[in-house]
């Protein structure tokens, strides 16, 4: 079976967030990038597990500049067979989805995996866009997935519960926590990754339908009010009268 895993990079969470002087650009100096955890820990690993069980290949794909190659090599070190980088600086989710769709439309993939969202912009929209371009079913936030022949059984997280679904392949699926257990690349994987193919392809022309025009910092929070631990009536009074939340 053929699996495609969409991977993205994101600033490491503890990064200090700053912008250019006119607040229109995100300041990338000193930022440490990691593979988006949902892509690395859950989407990629489940695709590898399914390949190990059913045979086939796992291809990792990223839309981004050459500096993303480190993150792509990590996907190869964890176990992907080959990788594709579409050489572009995307400004919108739809641009990314369009480029991946162009690659995938004749690729014969049985399942295309994404993370449920990137942890920097939290869009959670590329999966649905990709599925629409490819006219495929889309299951978001999967916390469990099994394949039997051409049928996928999936648990999908919904507010306050889970849905249990059946879908025929091919399909697009986004990964939530629980879909797999994180794998740490070993020395052999890292060495092998250097020899695995990473194909760079040029993007198809597509206008971004939206883009970020400015950044700002959230309003500063008022200093914390420290309260007497002996007097919880006072906290209740403040929550009722001052904060008006109870």
């Amino acid at each position: 079976m053929k699996f495609l895993v969409c991977i993205s990079k994101t600033p490491e969470t503890t990064s200090k967030i700053a912008f250019s002087a006119d607040n229109t650009q995100f300041d990338t100096s000193g930022i440490q990038y990691i593979m988006n955890p949902y892509d690395e820990w859950f989407a990629l690993v489940r695709a590898l597990e399914l390949k190990e069980a059913h045979g086939g290949t796992v291809t990792a794909i990223n839309v981004g500049p050459a500096s993303n190659d480190t993150v792509i090599r990590k996907a190869l070190a964890i176990g992907a067979d080959d990788a594709v980088r579409i050489n572009a600086e995307p400004e919108s989710a739809m641009y990314v989805a369009k480029q991946i769709a162009e690659h995938a439309k004749d690729g014969g993939y049985d399942a295309i995996f994404l993370g449920k969202e990137t942890i920097d912009y939290n869009g959670a929209e590329i999966g649905a866009m990709l599925a629409e371009y490819l006219d495929l079913p889309f299951v978001s936030f999967a916390s469990h997935m099994d394949l039997d022949g051409g049928v996928a059984t999936i648990k999908r997280d919904i507010e306050g519960g889970v849905e249990i679904l059946e879908v025929n392949t091919p399909l697009v699926i986004s990964a939530a926590k629980g879909l797999a257990e994180q794998r740490i690349p070993n020395m052999r994987g890292i060495m092998m990754a250097k020899r695995k193919p990473l194909n760079v392809v040029e993007p198809v022309g597509f206008d971004d339908p939206c883009h970020v025009v400015g950044y700002e910092l959230p309003p500063a929070k008022a200093a914390v009010k420290m309260l007497d631990p002996e007097d919880m009536d006072e906290l209740v009074r403040l929550l009722h009268e001052e904060a008006k939340v109870i």
């Binding site: 942890i119 025009v213 914390v224 009536d233």
Partner: protein
């Protein structure tokens, strides 16, 4: 013209639907035209969407629509958008909305802003802000296409009763074939799901062991709150996975978030620091969570939590 998808995943309209319609009404005042709501499925009470500002309510009902299939739902919403001439289409940033929004954007060739938490501005381009980088920044997006799709984060607007019930019109859509079969739905009974909860009581490793959670549950019960936890607590199986909040868990924005025995690591804060009011109970005065809190109590949680429960009980009796 604005079209709002009023979701009813549990067979009834709830807060996410009312918030989306309230937001849609305000957007229609900016871009001109009416705010039309579309409902899919057999939920009763669609006429009440008028109360929140919808001037027309369309409903499509068919047995095949009982559960979400993003292809079916997005197709119907896009047909409704075309039929009313909608320039802006709004859905919730919910499990349902997130499955549909990207499809709608592609179908309508519309730029999209997903997870918006502010109203747009329309002078000098159509712009919408959302919170990014674990709430460490706000980004403003400009959408340059003629049509726009927005998904709205829960609790970023309060439902406002600005109109009155309207007659529901049945909308005649072409319904695509279902490709996803829903075998079963397991819901957690009796509690408000975390993403919708207005009051949340949460605890972390400071609890020492899972047997101690009764004091957290008692406080949650007297408040009518939902319980949550930090990641290590769910990873070690002390609490169920669906309670895990933070960057890799559920992101919430309740009115009140009470955190006991949680240090306040950045990854935890990422999922909770949009809460309106945060109360932190921690015995370490240096705990980073105090910096993100509105009210802090520096003491042993095993003393403070039961005392707070008693104080809430007393308050509720009066």
């Amino acid at each position: 013209m604005v079209l709002v998808f009023a979701e009813s995943p549990k067979g009834k309209f709830e807060k996410p639907a009312f918030e989306a319609v309230t937001y849609g009404k305000k957007v229609s005042e900016m871009v001109g035209g009416e705010c039309v709501a579309i409902a899919i499925g057999d939920a009763k009470g669609a006429e009440d969407l008028g109360i929140y500002g919808a001037t027309r309510v369309l409903q499509v009902n068919d047995p095949s629509l009982a559960h979400l299939d993003s292809q079916m739902y997005a197709s119907i919403i896009a047909q409704a958008a075309d039929s009313v001439g909608a320039k802006v289409v709004i859905v919730g940033f919910t499990a349902t909305g997130k499955s549909i929004e990207g499809r709608l954007a592609v179908k309508l060739s519309a730029g999209s802003v997903s997870g918006a938490s502010y109203l747009p501005t329309v002078n000098g381009g159509f712009k919408v802000k959302k919170s990014v980088f674990s709430s460490k920044a706000i980004a403003e997006y400009e959408v340059t296409t003629e049509k726009k799709v927005i998904s709205l984060v829960g609790n970023s607007i309060q439902p406002e009763a600005s109109g009155s019930a309207v007659t529901v019109e049945s909308f005649d859509a072409e319904i695509p074939a279902r490709r996803i079969t829903v075998k079963d739905v397991d819901t957690i009974k009796g509690v408000v799901p975390l993403p919708e909860a207005e009051l949340v009581v949460s605890a972390g490793r400071g609890m020492k062991s899972p047997e101690n959670w009764n004091i957290i549950e008692e406080l949650a019960t007297v408040l009518g709150a939902t319980t949550a936890c930090s990641r290590p607590v769910s990873d070690t199986g002390w609490r169920p996975h669906h309670e895990h909040v933070g960057q890799t868990g559920v992101a919430i924005r309740p009115n009140l978030y009470i955190a006991a025995g949680i240090s306040g690591a950045i990854q935890h804060l990422a999922g909770v620091n949009n809460s309106k009011v945060i109360v932190v109970i921690n015995k370490d005065p240096e705990a980073p969570f105090f910096k993100a809190a509105n009210y802090g109590i520096c003491a042993d949680l095993f003393d403070v939590v039961p005392r707070l429960t008693e104080a809430v009980k007393k308050f509720k009796q009066n």
